[in-house]
Symmetry: C2
Subunit: 336 residues, 2 copies
Amino acid sequence: MRRWITALALLPMMAAAEPITLERFGSFHVGGREVVVSGQPVREVLFSPGGVPARVDPNGTYLVGSMYAQFMVPRPLRGAAPLLMWHGGGLSGVSWETTPDGRDGWQHFFLRRGWHVVVSDAVERGRAGWTQIPEQTGGTALTLTVDNPWERFRIGAGTGSFARGEVLPGNQFPTDRESYMNFMRQVVPRFTTTDDMTLAAYIALLERTGPSVVMAHSQAGLFAWRAAQARPDLVRALVLVEPAAVGDAAQVAALRNVPVLLVYGDYIAQDARWPTIRANGVRFGEAVRAAGGHVDVVDLPERGIRGNSHMIMMDRNSDEVAEVIQQWLGARGLWR
Amino acid sequence: MRRWITALALLPMMAAAEPITLERFGSFHVGGREVVVSGQPVREVLFSPGGVPARVDPNGTYLVGSMYAQFMVPRPLRGAAPLLMWHGGGLSGVSWETTPDGRDGWQHFFLRRGWHVVVSDAVERGRAGWTQIPEQTGGTALTLTVDNPWERFRIGAGTGSFARGEVLPGNQFPTDRESYMNFMRQVVPRFTTTDDMTLAAYIALLERTGPSVVMAHSQAGLFAWRAAQARPDLVRALVLVEPAAVGDAAQVAALRNVPVLLVYGDYIAQDARWPTIRANGVRFGEAVRAAGGHVDVVDLPERGIRGNSHMIMMDRNSDEVAEVIQQWLGARGLWR
């Protein structure tokens, strides 16, 4: 496994300015189910000022729990399977498209290396839409204040660090005010009770794309582990970037033929929550390995890659980390 | 004006299967403002099952009212300015990306003709995110039942037509069940009281892109008229596809140097609301013309293009209508 790490320095970086040729690209929605609501009063709604009022009957059938995906297939194609990018909680597919300081995101990085990239918005977020039917969402969505990710995503050192303007020493997240606020613009509300709907939609996505590499960040680690356990035939590999949760301990054997890469950033030991979250992930990986699976754990600081926050794909050294993942995928025979 | 219509039949259609070369592409957020909330209780939130609970303080500063945009710049570039595509109410930028029956959307059409295309999600929708801070949104968002657009967007003939499975004769909207449900998957909740925030964000978008052609559908007609009145220096032309509202009557002269195309579909005379909505739009256009502006009105059936619903960019003849717009833009000197 050392070999693909040391090869890193030898690869020339692609110039970001090069044009890219797409064999095809587009978007689609998948999944969801119908829910019937009854007994609610009819309303008259003026949709646009100066328009004509429309009668809106809230009773009837709603379609809830679908999700959105945008695919891009580059020419030449070198990835052995589609590369699905699943964003973290309170975020959307934008996480992969761009960095808050305006550099190309991992969508670009992997497209330029010939991967068919699929960037999606999970149920309830972004272009997936959401619903306020209480029995479907479990209630109120959570919106984050500007200080929350700064203090929770290992950008600053915990509570109060945003107000104090404190950044963890050597942090690679772009913390100038404009960049950080660009990141906050990407944040979307989050329901904490829609996991089952979301998992079902991700499985529907895999059924649509066919066998794929799943790259998942943070919250999506939960969905990636569990989707792979439910449909190991549809997952060629899991790349889990700081997964916030694990899979079903009773089904580790289902992952026997799904190689897994776990990637963790910096500042974990000193954080209030991340030592536990990381330990849970590593322990689950060990259980998968004990069941015959292949699990690699990369702690970036141990590889000399320092300063990574929880938002690794946005950090200033994001391309360096992407290259670690690219090399691992190549070593697994998924890139030619 | 007849000339660019008759030239239509002579243009070869581009093959959808051709690869496309992008000089560059990416996404960004713009606009928004900070809002302070105080006096709310602190909550403990378990973000992921098996994770570690986090303390969430809802008091503090929120960033609300920003919007999302994805840009693609093709090679070769032939449009004289960026072409911004502003979606209608209860929808997102997806409207322009794909049709519910899986054909290429107008984003593709105009990219392939060499336009720098910018597809955006307005405030509160899609990747723009949204907020539930009541004083910012004015309350509850509206989600549509599956029958609502069918009956309101001139797909079926008004109330009850969805249940009866009735389609207006010759309708070009893809009404097979799978396609229609794909369209419903694109529908997102809509607040009806966020117009000022949305207009401000669209103006911020124009400030970012520089002088642009604005193509707006339905609700976005409101924002397009008013953004052009506020910043005529940033709008090279308006293409309004069934605009649901008009601009400020006191400021028609501001549009003197902004050429405008109004496009309306079929079945309007027999609809309960659309005769009034269309008449308002045409009358506003006449006022702009009287103030020295250039306004063309295209009623598609009068040009022999029949069967168009309100969702013209999704109808089976969407490319034919796009070609009408493309020719008009060419005649205005905006394409070379």
